[in-house]
Amino acid sequence: MRWKSADYTGWGRALGATGQLARPERQSALTALVADAPAPAIGNCRSYGDACLNDGGNAIDMTRLDRFVEFDADSGVLHVEAGITLGEIARIMAPRGWLPAVMPGTGFATVGGAIANDVHGKNHHGAGSFGQHVQAITLVGPKGARRITLKSDPGLFRATVGGLGQTGVIVSAEMQLARCKGDIVTLTERRVANLDEFLGLLDRSEATYTVGWVDATARGDALGRGILEEAETGAGLVPPTRPSKSVPFNAPGFALSAPVVKLFNAAYLRRVPERGRTVVKPINEFFFPLDRIHNWNRLYGKRGFHQFQCVVPLAEAAALKEMLMRISDAGMASPLAVLKRMGPGRAGYMSFPMEGYTLAVDFRNRDAATRLIGQLEDLTAQAGGRIYLAKDSLSGAARVRAMYPEYEKWATEVARADPKGALATDLVRRLGLRDKA
């Protein structure tokens, strides 16, 4: 297998790596590669920080191992190669009445990446995390392939789901799809005046898919104002999505400066009439709204950006309020801020979800943002919450271990599965996750 020298980055583009990439196009090539030179697998590098980076080392790009393997139309169990994207599964399966049970905010996430970060979607409060719908995983290591289930290898399975790729290369997975009524959604949007109203609406929402957009520039009485989105899948005929556009170059710094963001957010809020509205959309427009603009991450300029995402227990609404206050006071937020209620569902030792509220906000990469994110992490820790490693690029070892109570179990399984540390990534090294405690 030929290796390619490449410079590549996480989605936030604040962290990058230089290394050798292999991209096997068939399973036999992968097996031979791993037997010869085990290396961490990466998907579409939709993780924001360094989960998908191995600076100075090798990595295996899985995106060409993207075949459908088997589908049982009665049970809805789908077996696919790990490099297929969730967007592609949705595109093919939704017209037949099936969707991935959990879909994150980008359709470019691969099945391997979705397992390794145990991703959540707009239905987490009801459906739980991605890994909870995975029935079997086939891992490839130097000694060959091995199919594992929660029953056959409970420890290894829990260390693989949400396990940051440290137990082996996931070559394929079998998962339970969810029934959908068709490939459109009926979406109800309503304006929300402030944080308290928001949390109340999120608590009471009975929709299958619920998510909140927050205007993180608003302050005072309007702190935490935004738009609540509630959606159900359905059947119908709507015009197909317009072809995607792309951001051709790095935007200059002022593109997302405080006044621009303030104006944009106010306009975005007014898009939805005061009394709310219900619209019908193709599913991908609802689930993956940002995917229509390729390389939108270039909007943040050359230095890139960070996403802070935390979850705090339900009782800690005060911590959320404090975070929003600090963010709006600092005047550093981008238009991208999301609030959601999570259920307890999680499938791995290092899975992010816990019952509570999750907040995600993007910040242009600069020193002041680093300081602010540090404060937000402090608040998260004090509230007994945790930060999401798929988004993290700034945190430290002690902090993360304290937030993930099952860390030791994970570390034990990982040490057994990959004793030489061949699968370590930049994130794992930065957070000392593979170091002996």
Binding site: W3, K4, R23, E25, F68, F71, I92
Partner: protein, 245 residues
């Protein structure tokens, strides 16, 4: 759709994108190549994506003894028959310089093997009086260049062959289309360094399907290569021989 496509070199990265588009249109697919395990996986992938049928069949461009059996199998399908050739190999020019024996294989994979197969298939398709043959050549065949002139020669030979075949088959209602890709992000080019105007297999597939619909004779993909190659072809030989483009 009762369209049947036989794909030679179905394990190629480029072919895979094209085959999937055909699968989604509900075509019947005969996937021919050397790696039966991968062809089996691909056939299954195609069935799940909507192909009316998909089966793997052994084909090695260097083993013409096996061609007859494949032609027999193709002929069993009723309705419109179509064929697409993605077979090709591109050893490093330096390797060929070190071992000139590699020339035979290179020419067989990209030119004489597929040509011989198409020559046997031609009467079957003529008898149906319809259908399309897609042959993948390369911009490398448009002019011999220092970096890969053996591969280029094979592709030039194949393009000339296709042009003649087009002349013959057109009279019987069978359309022959030559595809000349510039650099495409596939297994063949992975790790070979930066290349100008590189495109991806999905775009190539879309260009091929569009070309087939419009009954184009020669398609460049990405399209800009038609212009680039026109310029490169127009450079007088005394100057060109000193260039390393």
């Amino acid at each position: 759709m009762s369209e049947t496509w036989i794909i030679l070199g179905a394990t190629s990265s480029m072919a895979r994108a094209f085959i999937r588009d055909l699968a989604q249109q509900g075509a019947r697919l005969l996937l021919a190549g050397r790696d039966m395990a991968d062809l089996g996986a691909l056939a299954q992938d195609c069935r799940l994506r909507g192909a009316a049928a998909a089966e793997a069949i052994a084909f090695d461009a260097r083993k013409p003894k096996g061609f007859g059996a494949i032609i027999d199998r193709v002929a069993q399908f009723d309705g419109t028959l179509n064929a697409a050739v993605f077979v090709g190999s591109m050893p490093d020019q330096a390797e060929i310089d070190a071992d000139p024996g590699l020339i035979d294989g290179t020419i067989t994979d990209s030119f004489t093997g597929p040509a011989r197969f198409l020559q046997m298939l031609a009467p079957v398709m003529e008898a149906r009086g319809k259908g399309v043959i897609v042959g993948v050549g390369s911009v490398a065949g448009d002019r011999g260049r220092i970096g890969n002139y053996v591969y280029g020669a094979a592709k030039a030979g194949f393009a000339t062959y296709l042009s003649g075949l087009r002349n013959r088959m057109g009279r019987k209602g069978v359309h022959v289309m030559t595809v000349k890709p510039g650099p495409v992000d596939t297994a063949m080019t992975w790790g070979l360094g930066r290349m100008p105007f590189m495109t991806d297999p999905e775009t190539v597939s879309r260009d091929i399907l569009k070309g087939v619909r419009k009954r184009r004779n020669v398609v460049y993909t990405a399209g800009i290569w038609r212009i680039v190659m026109a310029v490169i072809r127009s450079i007088p030989e005394p100057i060109f021989k000193k260039l390393s483009v």
